[in-house]
């Protein structure tokens, strides 16, 4: 069976572009109720605040008759009530009067691990029997907590900032605490000790949209570099701009776009829309022209200067798809190796999967995604696994963390504030938080790109209902990160820290399909972060330890890993397959992998000393009996060109939006809907990351080839023919391939300064025709477009070829569509183009 379906490729911005672009979405919102903290707060002014300090009072009182019953796991309200009543019944005290105190909050619809119970005249014995219940962990009295925050006149500010004018001072300190603190499980619990430490003087945005504090001395002593569109000299929001440098061919240091000013403002603005670290030392690097042009070479020179200046934190609200740009990638490694903490935006190419931008997708960089103020992943935020590992591996988890990136307020180009959306905005939120953390940490020696990243991901709060390829480790939590960093000991850690292939939706897509004997191994690409030193190694080998009582011997685990962990990180690729003895077994198997990492000890007096750290990676998988052949579908990943395929063009003179398929195709990225549909129909979908000669076709019902770009070896063609004769079905989704169109979509790439012509059309139709010619089939080089209906399902055929030849006894479901070759609109990427005769005219959609 051969199915034709032409999809147009998915395109997005090429090269290094500032990652903002969702102005519409955020703009509307931000003007209303989502203006975080700033304006509403600054109306309450406190005079003479440079001599104020923050004091937090804290007292508690036991609430009579009320007890918190903690459970061993999360249960529904019904189950909790059942457990409590059965436990109290077994107490044998029939006279006991009790009821559950209703908690009406948004969390009450979800399972919980505690219940609030009102028991009149509870005897110690009845409480003890309650604790005897197998699902009840503990019973504690309910306490009422009183907290008050006050400003108290006190001594000097920390940091060298006594010169602040009264006006700016008032604005910095205005009564931030008069905002309601949200109650409930989400409220951050902060102690007096902590606040005094972090927020020595004035402080701080707690990254909670309601609670906000702001510190004037925040960030002091930390050098922050902003690589962006520049900053004007006398911007009223900044007090500590140490240096501005220009690396472009425009003779100015000023920002002509507003992007760089905004980003700098989120990090370090000291008034109006306040940043995190107003006292940090700002180094402004102008690497983009006002037309958003930038070259790798400008970055290389600017990065070298950042290393020389011993920058601590570097924000890159930019990104591009080209992780094969070796000079750039090497330079980013060099920066982190010199202890520069790199924070970068993950990209604005969501909600498509497989759209991560470089350098945010690097292991040594903190890649930041965006959420809105309701804690939903922002639509624009790039997501999906990294694509470096394809086709042999699967892909690493990115972004690392997410934070507010929608309708965030920051500094306007000349003055005032504006709100912007984009991961460009989320990145400086994290960079600002990192700066604040670095300045408050007691032992600065311990702060390095790995330990900072470890602290951020270990403290991040996981968002419910979102998978790890969208949220990474969750939402930035500044306070917890501070706590972790201040008790940090140099160590190694893993990201993700465990592999639970049964956990949905966090471990999607792994959790969406159980594994079975004979299936392609499931590969999980884990990142090892090493906070002990810039370089490290794995001692001996990682060891797989199956838990025998938990059927650990039913799976085989193979591991490959980086020979050297540099800089600060390395990979651990875990390949899981089912053992033969579990071919018809169903159940859960568990075990763990132990890894020991060693790094040279730098502060050790003994030469040659090493620090070591051992980490455990728990693994849990669900196994089912091998499904029948007819239910098994194999997706051909190998012939989808590795992306980016070689050296990719960046910009385009005629088409401002990019023309190429850099998202590539993967069943879990841009064909995710197809995957979900197939799964819901009961099919098992596996991915083939090797040539066609490398799989046993007798195990599979169908081979799926979608928009294949790669050519086929003669051996592959011969083997596939034999497989089809032996009952394998083949589904091919073709695309377009028309040399005259391809000639016209060629363009001049400003980055590589070369003309670039696509190697193939949307798919490599000549190669596909070689493959299918033996069955008397062929695709044409035509280009068609139009609507059709199949089985009551309305479909749109975006642009693709037609069937040129098909055997007479075959079944063709045909529909006449509009011939775009005769003059028609069609899409090159997301861009409407008019094709007629020899002309292709494209309309540029310029975005900021």
């Amino acid at each position: 069976m051969i199915t034709l379906l032409c999809t147009s490729c998915l395109y997005t911005n090429w090269g290094f572009l500032p990652v903002v672009g969702m102005e519409g979405e955020g703009g509307a919102k931000s003007s209303s109720d989502h203006t975080p903290n700033v304006e509403a707060l600054s109306s309450l002014s406190v005079t003479n605040c440079s001599q104020l300090t923050l004091k937090l009072e804290f007292s508690t009182k036991v609430v009579e008759h009320e007890y918190i019953v903690g459970f061993t796991g999360y249960f529904s309200a019904k189950a909790r009530s059942l457990y409590i009543s059965s436990a109290l019944r077994s107490a044998g005290d029939g006279t006991l009067e009790w009821h559950i105190v209703p908690r009406e909050n948004p969390a009450s619809d979800f399972p919980s691990d505690f219940e609030l119970v009102h028991i009149r005249q509870a005897s110690p014995s009845s409480l003890l029997t309650l604790e005897d219940h197998p699902y009840i962990k503990r019973v504690t009295p309910q306490r009422k907590v009183f907290r008050s925050l006050k400003y108290i006149p006190s001594g000097v500010c920390c940091g060298p900032s006594p010169a602040t004018s009264p006006r700016s001072c008032r604005q910095m300190c205005s009564g931030r605490w008069d905002t309601p603190v949200r109650k409930g499980p989400l409220t951050l619990s902060f102690s007096t000790h902590l606040l005094q430490n972090i927020l020595k003087c004035r402080s701080v945005k707690l990254l909670n949209k309601i609670t906000s504090i702001s510190l004037a001395c925040a960030g002091s002593g930390v050098k922050v570099a902003v690589f962006d569109t520049g900053l004007s000299e006398k911007h009223p929001h900044f007090k500590n701009v140490k240096e501005r440098t220009n690396w472009t061919n425009e003779k100015t240091l000023d920002d002509g776009l507003g992007h760089g000013t905004f980003v700098a403002g989120v990090i370090a603005s000291m008034r109006e829309c306040q940043g995190f670290a107003p006292d940090s030392e700002l180094h402004i690097f102008r690497v983009f022209t006002n037309n958003q042009v930038s070259y790798t070479s400008w970055f290389l020179d600017a990065f070298n200067y950042a290393i020389l200046k011993k920058i601590d934190v570097l924000n890159l609200s930019i990104g591009g798809p080209d992780f094969m740009d070796h000079p750039f990638v090497d330079k980013v490694w060099e920066l982190t190796a010199n202890r520069v903490i790199m924070v970068s935006a993950i990209g604005n190419d969501g909600p498509l999967y497989g759209t991560l931008n470089n350098p945010a997708d690097q292991m040594d960089v903190i890649g930041v995604g965006g959420i809105d103020f309701e804690d939903n992943i922002a639509r624009f935020s790039s997501r999906g696994m990294t694509t470096w590992e394809l086709p042999g591996g699967y892909g690493r988890v990115k972004p690392d963390i997410v934070t507010y990136g929608s309708g965030v307020r920051g500094s306007g180009m000349k003055e005032g504030c504006r709100s912007l959306s984009g991961t460009s905005v989320a990145s400086p939120v994290v960079a600002g938080a990192v700066t604040l953390l670095a300045s408050t940490v007691l032992n600065r020696e311990l702060v390095n790109p790995a330990s900072m990243k470890q602290a951020l991901i270990a403290s991040a709060r996981r968002l419910p209902g979102v998978n790890m390829f969208e949220q990474g480790h969750g939402k930035l939590d500044l306070i917890r990160a501070y706590q972790i960093l201040n008790s940090y000991r140099p160590q190694a850690s893993l990201s993700p820290s465990y592999i639970d292939l049964t956990e949905c939706p966090y471990m999607w897509p792994y959790c969406s399909q159980p594994i079975y004997y004979g299936g392609m191994p499931t590969i999980v690409n884990v990142t090892i972060l090493n906070g002990m030193g810039v370089t490290g190694r794995i001692v001996d080998k990682p060891i797989w330890q199956p838990y025998l009582p938990q059927n650990g011997d039913h799976i085989d685990v193979a591991i490959s890993y980086s020979p050297v962990l540099w800089p600060w990180a390395g990979y651990l690729a875990v390949s899981i397959s089912v053992a033969k003895k579990a071919a018809s077994w169903e159940g859960i198997a568990q075990g763990h992998v132990m890894v020991t990492v060693a790094s040279p000890a730098e502060n050790d007096s003994e030469v040659g000393g090493e620090l070591t750290s051992t980490v455990k990676l728990p693994i849990k998988v669900k196994i089912v009996p091998t499904p029948p052949r007819s239910k098994r579908v194999l997706w051909d990943q190998y012939h989808n060109l590795r992306y980016p395929p070689g050296y990719f063009p960046r910009d385009n003179l005629r088409m401002k939006n990019d023309p190429l398929d850099w998202n590539g195709d993967h069943i879990h990225t841009n064909f995710r809907d197809m995957y979900q549909h197939l799964r819901s129909m009961g099919y098992f979908v596996e991915v083939l990351g090797a040539p066609i000669t490398c799989f046993d076709a007798s195990q599979y019902g169908t081979l799926l080839m979608v928009d294949s770009e790669e050519e086929y070896f003669p051996e592959e063609i011969t083997k596939l023919r034999r497989d089809i004769d032996n009952g394998l079905s083949l589904i091919i989704f073709s695309d377009w391939y028309n040399t005259s169109v391809m000639r016209k979509v060629k363009f001049y790439d400003e980055n590589t300064r070369q003309w670039w012509m696509p190697d193939t059309g949307g798919a490599n139709i000549p190669a596909l025709n070689d493959l299918i010619s033996v069955w008397g089939m062929a695709f044409s080089d035509g280009l068609y477009e139009g609507d059709f209906t199949l089985a009551d399902h309305d479909m749109y055929y975006a642009s693709g070829c037609s069937i040129a030849r098909f055997p007479e006894d075959g079944i063709v479901i045909a529909k006449n569509l509009k011939d775009q070759g005769a003059g028609a609109w069609f899409n090159v990427g997301q861009q409407p183009c008019w094709l007629t005769g020899n002309f292709l005219i494209c309309v540029s959609l310029v975005q900021i």
Binding site: L300, D301, L308, H326, F328, N338, E602, R753, Q754
Partner: protein, 200 residues
């Protein structure tokens, strides 16, 4: 008003207006062209009359100064170069940041992996080689004719060690077509000229 209108009707007045506009148009076009050419070559080596105000203090090689604390090249995967020009393995680094000169593999001023054009395949050896006292005239020549694009970097460099650390890094001069190295085998250069551009 009337006079002005009559004046404007005169043919010679219109001629002058047209002439001036033409001159303005031509000069501004030419200037722009000149500017684009200049922008393109911003990062390429300029003629010798342009000098960046460098202020590097070279240390004389014969001074065997005592040093208690060393700066080193920090970043290396396995090797490090200290400011005295010693290259050693990470495990042979002393607590004061200096290489242990007694370790068997430690070498001073070593140009291993470096080619005749001053480009090396290993960064740490490039730095060590660049620290050789006899490289001073070469480095001075480079500084005297360094491209404008390097002004920020090389005016901020203060001594021989910082200069070598900065000079050996890959830079705008290491690439062709922006995203490929001119010579991926020997990309760290202390020498005067960048690696040869490869034919496309």
């Amino acid at each position: 008003m009337m006079v002005l209108r009559r004046l404007l009707r005169k043919r010679w007045v219109l001629g002058v207006v047209f002439g001036l506009s033409l001159i303005y148009f031509l000069t501004s076009t030419l200037k722009q062209e000149e500017r684009t050419i200049r922008d393109r070559t911003l990062l390429e080596v300029r003629d010798s009359d342009h000098r960046i105000p460098w202020k590097v203090r070279f240390n004389l090689g014969n001074s065997s100064r005592q040093i208690t604390q060393c700066r080193n090249s920090i970043q290396g995967k396995t090797l490090l170069t200290d400011e005295l020009g010693y290259v050693c393995e990470r495990k042979d680094l002393l607590i004061n940041g200096c290489c242990n000169v007694n370790a068997p593999s430690t070498r001073q001023y070593i140009c291993k992996s470096c080619l005749a054009n001053g480009c090396c395949s290993i960064y740490e050896y490039c730095v060590s080689c660049c620290l050789q006292p006899d490289k001073q005239p070469l480095l001075e020549r480079f500084l005297n004719r360094a491209a404008e694009g390097f002004q920020n970097l090389f005016t901020a460099v203060e001594d021989h060690f910082e200069l070598c650390l900065a000079k050996c890094r890959t830079s705008s001069q290491s690439v062709q077509h922006e995203n490929t190295y001119r010579n991926p085998q020997a990309k760290y250069c202390y020498g005067e000229s960048p690696p040869e551009l490869l034919p496309v």
